[in-house]
Symmetry: C2
Subunit: 216 residues, 2 copies
DNA sequence: CAGGGATAGTGAACCTTTTCACAAGACTGG
DNA sequence: CCAGTCTTGTGAAAAGGTTCACTATCCCTG
């Protein structure tokens, strides 16, 4: 029994993305070598990553795209729709709400919250905006969601995340630059692209690539 | 002479971010232990990362926030303003253009391009939008930029990135889900948050955290 | 100016992750 | 049905990264 490297799990999402593309293109069979080329990975790594979760290929043949995709979705829990709740309908929040491709990938916004009373009650991308304080009521109804997307102003992020957790939500995609301090049973993924911009600056300045072995 | 781990470089940006906060709060001195707590890192790692680039601390005392920040900025090439050119002024592009905090961190949009002729000529967040085809002219004038931010529709991304490279730009922050195929001397950082959402799904489904040892 | 308490810098040990290399199985054509 | 070819699955080796533990250095107090 092996321990599963955390990074393998994250790569699974990457593989699934590319399998989805292959599937859409009508490709039925793929080898680890071909998939690796698409993902910019090493074929042995793909095989090893998959091996942590089972045997999905056929020796001498390759992987059946549809089967592997289905298996990966099951492993990752993405063979269902996940409901998202947005906090902070500003610049970024509006872009996220209006991003149709989320739905194609199984993510649907069921609620949106803002502090600003001018926004509350208005509709953005077909979604009526609720007041942040009402989270506990909203979550009991059709606005119930599984994952919170945090895009409030930075100075409200900690505070807001606490209320999210209090309401019983245990997963947060955090777009604010704040490192949230929350109980251990809450899963947080931080997205900060200024850090990525800095990596580019370093590359341009020194001429040396900051190659990423891990997808990010 | 040691080889510098690429990930160390990326962490530098993280340290710099937190040093910036300390500096704004008027803190003058910080130890590796304190900084590690803020960043969610190990103190030895911080010291080791810094050691790759020089000696910035005082034994028995700690690091002078202002000095260390200055040193890191120099190492990373962020002690100057970097000019950004936006491609694709849609949902996401508008949010990026309107994000004032970029400027605070030394990143300024000097040009914005779109394919849509209804958008070209209009002004978004104080920026006049040019036609994608005009990149070569724009880059010769005051609209010149160092880093391209790619937020076009996915099916135009590869094509658009090629034209960016042709115009002489060698760094791209790529928000599209496409893996760009470009010459080796072009630096690309991919931002794909659906992959992060999938990691959350996995955590929620299995109950096991996908802890990130590396900042992303 | 000596002693105690901090804390950076760093070689070495340790741990994790990637890559290699090959056996096992699957298909093809004759 | 056999030989040749392809590709997965996987133990083992290699590479890469993190953490430990210790030394060197500094500051402060008496
Ligand atoms: N816009 C970008 O491109 C971008 C890029 C990177 C990071 N971010 C981060 O995303 C966050 C939002 O950025 P933005 O540009 O959309 O800012 P914004 O000021 O346009 O929007 C913030 C919104 O959050 C709302 N808000 C504040 N406190 C709230 C609370 N407690 N509950 C619910 N809503 C609340 C505000 O009313 C406002 O509508 C910021 O933390 C920013 O640092 C934004
Ligand atoms: N909106 C989001 O929250 C979000 C999230 C993740 C990823 N993305 C990705 O970012 C990209 C943009 O998303 P969006 O929601 O802003 O889409 P959008 O359709 O609102 O905007 C795309 C814009 O790009 C322009 N465009 C197309 N081809 C171009 C070219 N060759 N040169 C310049 N401009 C061009 C279009 O005219 C349009 O204005 C997409 O690839 C999407 O997958 C968006």
């Amino acid at each position: 029994m092996h321990k599963i490297p955390n990074i393998a799990v994250i790569r699974l999402a990457l593989y699934a993305k590319h399998l989805e593309m292959l599937h859409n293109d009508g490709v039925e069979l793929v080898s680890s070598v071909k998939l690796a080329k698409m993902c910019g990975a090493n074929p042995a790594q793909i095989r090893k990553d998959l091996a942590y979760f089972g045997q999905f290929g056929v020796r001498g043949v390759g992987y059946y795209v549809k089967d592997l995709l289905g298996a990966l979705k099951e492993v990752m829990g993405t063979n269902r729709t996940w409901r998202l709740g947005l906090f902070g309908v500003g610049n970024l929040g509006k872009a996220l709400l209006g991003f149709e491709q989320f739905a194609q990938r199984g993510f649907v916004f069921t609620a949106a919250f803002d502090k600003d009373l001018d926004l509350v009650g208005t509709t953005v991308a077909g979604m009526e905006i609720s007041q942040s304080e009402d989270i506990k009521e909203v979550i009991k109804g059709p606005g119930c969601f599984d994952i919170a997307v945090l895009a409030t102003r930075a100075d409200r992020a900690q505070d807001c995340s606490l209320r999210i957790v209090e309401a019983g939500v245990h997963a947060i995609l955090n777009f604010t630059p704040v490192r949230l301090v929350l109980p251990d049973n809450v899963f947080v993924e931080n997205v900060d692209f200024t850090v990525r911009l800095h990596a580019l600056c370093y590359s341009l300045t020194t001429g040396s690539d900051v190659t990423q072995r891990h997808p990010r």
